[in-house]
Point group: D2
Chain length 146, copies 4
């Protein structure tokens, strides 16, 4: 997916602790980058992650993650993590991620979140406010200048 399809990007710097003995970021640490960028994405949508539970009764859990590793990030690299919403369903939505270092495409990823009733882990509908915030932002109608 081309970077042009993303409105949101979060720049991060690779930490020493995230790099393994091969000198590259350990494969699982990209999921931390996705999580950090997701948090910033919801902030721009004006849905701070904490509020999702506190104000909107949403308990989002990740049910699937996919990562494709094209080229590794290294210590002290500045990387750009692009985030957008893919599919939105009744109780779930998919976030898509692309990581670049300058113009080099390093990583593609996907996370699927489901809104669950924590007590019995059954799915429940996404709060309307989240759905409309995502749609407004992704259709470029949002006020967010990121």
């Amino acid at each position: 997916m081309a970077r042009e399809d993303f409105r949101f990007v979060h720049r991060m710097r690779v930490r020493w602790v995230e790099v393994d003995a091969q000198g590259v970021v350990f494969n699982g640490n990209y999921l931390t980058y996705f999580d950090v960028a997701m948090t910033e994405y919801f902030r721009v949508l004006d849905f701070p992650y904490q509020d999702l539970a506190d104000k909107h009764g949403a308990d989002l859990v990740v049910v699937r993650s996919v990562t494709d590793y094209h080229s590794p990030a290294r210590f002290d690299d500045e990387i750009d993590v692009y985030v957008r919403t893919g599919r939105i369903g009744r109780s779930s939505f998919q976030l898509l991620f692309e990581i670049y270092r300058d113009d080099e495409h390093l990583i593609s990823g996907e996370l699927v979140y489901v809104n669950v009733d924590i007590a019995n882990r059954s799915s429940k509908p996404l709060p309307h406010a989240i759905r409309s915030a995502i749609e407004a932002y992704e259709q470029g109608k949002g006020s967010g200048a990121e």
Copy 2:
């Protein structure tokens, strides 16, 4: 995939540091569990991870990971990480993972490794010795009693 299809299992205990504020293991940490179990799997195959590079000229990099989160692991849980080799190609192979807590199925996962020439990151054939060790083990001809 049923547990019966796996010869290898590695038992681990969930650490406090691996659990997030929801009281469950952070999604990226399951990739650490896969990595730990993969290391033990290769030990049983008599191919310690260190030897792959040192003795067999293999530089394995992960090119894809997929994780399906059925139910979360929690602090202090003892979990069983099942590992087996799925597809083996000319220069790559796929490892399949299933994580259980007792009889409860928590996680399914997949990692695809490619043997690369580090200098130019082009793929190169898997060492024959690795391929035959995997095949011997998975076909139950190995000596490994794990």
Copy 3:
């Protein structure tokens, strides 16, 4: 402090993700090892960490950590983490740690825990049951053969 002064030891294996680009365990990760070994130490004392809060009303927080790095642990090393209680005060106690790889002394450490009232973070007395369990164990009166 000599290893002979410790009744408790927990063996662990260094994970790939814990090692940095210099090929050695990142300095902060030894605090994870201390935490894992502390959990096992309390299990042997018959005070599972979860019970400290649930059954004994203790909310232990770490107020100080000290680590002396004599020699580094490396990927796949089997290390022995020795744990004992040092000072016990009215509301706090000190755990002492020594990490060895075979006979080589790698790390010395100390953690100070205080029992706090979470609401206002003021200290409160240690539950009597914890104090007596620690004292019984460290004086060799415990039943635990670890």
Copy 4:
């Protein structure tokens, strides 16, 4: 130590993955914050960490860390990590850290680095260029406006 004694500060945001089931940052993760801030500190001194080894023949290892935990950081907090050099010896130096959230003092820390000959782990003198860069910066003669 008062914040006024520090020229350098690095602002960070607490990540979800860094918080434990008590909702606070795991004690060992503050050493990651120190490490990130140290990297930025050396960047301002015009001694990128990578150059220490590559250009100046320095192999710095941490031989001691001390952390005092006054009050915990929580998910999504913006924290300020203050860094300054304390003692400088022939082959070692001490970095001092203070972490604040707004005006609240959360953490104090100390790391001692020694320049070693990796082959035999004996200490060797600090490169003159590092010593003078630190002294120039800390005495306010540096060009760095951070």
